[in-house]
Symmetry: D2
Subunit: 365 residues, 4 copies
């Protein structure tokens, strides 16, 4: 879809800049009768919020979400019930630390979108990255909170599986550990390794990339569509739309290049309960663009942020060579905060395809 | 976009099944005044055609493309000129080898879309994979032939960079070699290695995955859009829509997870000609979703085809356990034929974004 | 939607020019399991076909439709069953009467799209009007034939209610009469009046406008959506997309400007069968963009064709003043043939909204 | 387009209910560099505001618009400059007069969307009509304020041309009069007639319909597209999406049914300045879906509001027969306030097509 909207029946439009008045989203196509509380949505936003450990940017943002439309309050005065009309959600920007942007307004930070925005639009909101700031993802996470409610029985979870060269041991995978450490690591053994490593990165004013894995369980079989509305295609598209993401995989992903057909095919058998069973899940829960009923598994790679304390060579808007060093708050591994964002994107893609299959009023739900 | 259409201003709709009467595409939004010959389009289709070496399926298809609408013939009787109306292209299916599909009609081949189509639609064209067949990609390649003409100065080329565990040596990269071997390999040194390896795979009735790299040169800076119309997002979406693709990367891709901010940022300097120069291209030609003017670089991983001669465990539509062995023509590495398809997808994505920027009549071209 | 496609879940793309090789449509999103015969589709095309009376153009077109994809043949060898993949239909152009277009190629016929196409595209297929020819509507009628099958119990019928100043007497309305005269008139008393009147128009080489009324019965209540996906909005959009249509009404239409709130509101009562009953249908079956369960009633006005035998003042592509007289076959009242086209458009709009509500696989059907 | 969004490149999404916290719109695709002041947008909203004469509802709404994103302030601290990112505008609801909705919550007002919303969604925001309230159109008018700025030289004006059976005399048409009376009448002679007539309607607690005419000047020739992206089609679609609109016409509209080809065709001649001149404008500025460069002329009919003080027969949500009388503030002719809304819709349609033609960054402007 175009510009600042994604989805076909569960449609999300986001708006807002880093240092503007507010940012938000309009969720159009959310079926009626979905029940949720503001606290539930806020909880997802809190997970994404910066400043929660020394390993992420110290920018303080309350990120308090408001629901402006599309719901009626239940008699408990707390539960919101969607009415089928657009759900508009807004997050006011509170920490717009006043500072002099004079220097950065004209200089292109290497690896940022400064240069390309100027080339494309001829004008750019340079304050905190403007529209290209990761602030925008707060709106995605709010939308994802609703999306999770659309598909009955759906669970979408993510975890960080790699920072720099340090990967988790998949044999240690424990979802219960994910919220017990500042990295969303599913492997407790990796936590001290990452702490050490990231402390070094942080003190050097440097940054490093990461990989996130998202797993969606409870996805009904038959969701998606062949050819250009493939479920994996839409997941890839949305994950790739997250700031700084440079790669996306489904199931075995790039590793499948090294596999043989015998190794890669997921065999099937009838289960004792009369339902088909897959004996493996190399496909990541999707065949021919359509869900198999197995967990949907996606991974994405986030590049290191280009905002580092070392001077880099660049140019300015007037065509002069300059050296640029990013001042201020610093994010040694933006991949950490990408975990709840990745969850939100996968939840939205699944909700959209669920509604394509079931209809916009979702009466089969 | 939805179902069987992609693109926002350069819109491609494909249709057709493997063993139906014909297949084709409608290219809507192609600007007027584009000049091309049927031979040019046919050349791209010939590159994708099966049966050209022992390393790909021996199915014989002529894949002769016809242009049914949207053009006027120039006075030379050969050059077609687009008029701005939909260009409908059709390829008739000629090698519909008659065979008994009775067995496969009810059995789900592991790793194929048989099961998911049946779950979703309750009915499935089992002949040759129906709509999920790679035959569909012939229509993409035809559309890509037009897309290449839309952006003045655009060149889109691809090469195979990995089969199984065997990767090319990037220091040997030579575009001139790509059409000199049956693998579209840019490194002549890898050719005998792959020949040996794939002969083994072929004789064993097995299959193996691969990785393709696509490079687009001549992409004007400023093409793309932030947030949900990112150029890299649309490229990822289209590459992921190709049959059997399980992963997509832009620029450094997954390798960026291991890089530091210093290593990954592409520094800039003013060139002697007064134009900005990037000193590296880790970003793959795209920053913030918008092209930088550098080459756009994308890679994608193709899983091994599940059509292998070894029996695999599966079920049938009646809920019985069965063992399935794919008979007939065999494709040891479907990744090879994905090379021209990847090119076509990237060309279409760039053409679409070019027109979003320049307008549907493309008068700035 | 854009360009040459309409619909959101039931999506129709048409292609082709008047004097090209062929024309056709791709119907994407047709649910699986729809059963139809080629003869059923052909019957709708035959109704639209020119040359069936002296009151329409004498151009001879067989308009034989072929189905190229998206179906499997049932065991009877005749019934087609949709599989959920795109249904491509094609009509080859057979009566491309060769003639010298030299004169008309450069001259703008007043009231035609010649001038605007040239201004927009800088190139134009002048043969028989090219893409702007009413030939394109054959593809719509084919798509409408499928759309009728999508909604169980749906009936869409249309009739001509006005030619020039001569209107039918609504008290005489009899659907059984519609196919008994060359005008699709529901009032047998108007037939001789129209015959006389149109014979005069025809002999004078002139033309005249008309009004068509479309009535859809069996539209389930609750189809449509508020604000920008109103059912009446989409019907209006599609009717207005038909060549030469200049006005569209729903229910009372423009007459509602003269009514009071008391006269216009449709009162309700509970019926004896426990279902709500509307005591009138001024709304034309739609309230707030959503169907009420009453018949959906739409009307549209068709201007007189500008192809007349009298010379009109115009200019040519070189900026010269010229006088233009349309030669060749002549259509005194194009509104007549608009009757089946209007039906097709309303059927498509309803099918699309039905699927938005029920889901693309339409399993609730 | 779907649900609560319209437009293809100039995309407007509206949200909000009559008695919710706020309502607003997100304008996505507005080109960068558009300069405007809040006062300019507010002026259009003020024109639409209720309570400005005794002939419209006395509901008091300040309708103060805020711009939340997508702009930077110029040095004058007042002029906003668009940056190419989404422009989010919000209007807080202030006059949410507290009242007991208990009765109306369960009763279906004849002619309102109460019944159809309940049938479709099973839940409905009954406060002030919820999403189906004409409050939503405030967001359209705000978006229209921006749209007017997108096309250089564009002027879009509208006037009321009919109330009940009383029509203006077109010979008296004077645009300067439109803002001199409470009806937006272009004919001063009709004003006392309408005053008398509407006073009677108002005192009787009744209501009546109306017709609005919109004229857009400065539309460049060549805007629009054939077949399903016709400019007139999109104008018709958007006008029909306005609450209570039941009919739409372009140029001669329904009157064209009574014209002959000789009368209806707009002849052309070369002007003294070397530009083509049309000798009449029966077409309403659009041929084959593409603008001719003449003024674009559209009309639409608004039904009388169903909110009247006379009891009407209806049912309630429990299936009981009830009698419903609308209490509270009353709008004798909703058509009056439709004038600025119609302008906004036509401006948005033209801006969208302008950008399709010129590209989303509108650099040709």
């Amino acid at each position: 879809m175009s510009h600042n909207t994604f989805g076909h029946l569960f449609r999300v439009t986001t708006w807002g800049e880093s240092h503007g008045v507010a940012l938000g989203c309009v969720v159009d196509g959310c079926p009626p009768g979905i029940r949720f509380t503001l606290a539930e949505i806020q909880a997802w936003l809190d997970k994404r919020k910066p400043g929660q450990s020394r390993f992420v940017t110290q920018r303080r943002e309350d990120d308090l979400v408001k629901v402006l439309s599309g719901v009626m309050l239940d008699d408990d005065g707390e539960t919101m019930i969607t009415t089928g009309t657009p759900v508009s959600m807004m997050i006011e920007n509170t920490d717009q630390r006043s500072k002099d942007y004079g220097e950065i307004a004209r200089r292109y930070r290497p690896g940022h979108a400064d240069y390309t925005y100027d080339i494309k639009y001829g004008i750019r909101d340079y304050r905190g990255g403007g529209r290209s700031s990761a602030r925008e993802t707060a709106a995605r996470v709010a939308a994802g909170g609703l999306a999770r409610k659309v598909v009955p029985g759906l669970t979408v979870r993510a975890a960080l599986v790699q920072i720099g060269k340090h990967r988790i041991d998949r044999n240690n995978w424990d979802w219960n550990e994910v919220n017990n450490n500042p990295f969303f690591a599913p492997d407790p053994a990796i936590v001290p390794v990452w702490e050490d490593y990231l402390d070094g990165i942080r003190k050097a004013g440097s940054s490093v990339g990461a990989v996130v894995e998202v797993v969606a369980e409870g996805v009904p079989a038959g969701i998606g569509a062949p050819i250009y509305a493939k479920l994996d295609q839409d997941i890839a598209s949305l994950l790739m739309s997250i700031n700084a993401v440079k790669g996306v995989e489904i199931g075995e992903g790039f590793a499948s290049a090294e596999l043989t057909g015998e190794e890669n095919a997921d065999e099937m058998r009838m289960g004792n309960d009369g339902n088909p069973i897959f004996l493996s899940n190399h496909a990541g829960g999707i065949l021919g663009g359509i869900s198999t009923g197995q967990p949907v598994v996606a991974r994405f790679a986030i590049k290191p942020t280009s905002s580092i304390l070392t001077e880099r060579r660049s140019i300015d808007a007037d065509g002069n060579n300059v050296d640029v060093r990013t001042k201020g708050r610093h994010d040694p591994c933006v991949g950490i905060r990408a975990v709840p964002i990745g969850e939100a994107m996968v939840a939205c893609a699944i909700a959209d395809h669920y509604l394509r299959d079931r209809g916009q009023t979702g009466r089969l739900a």
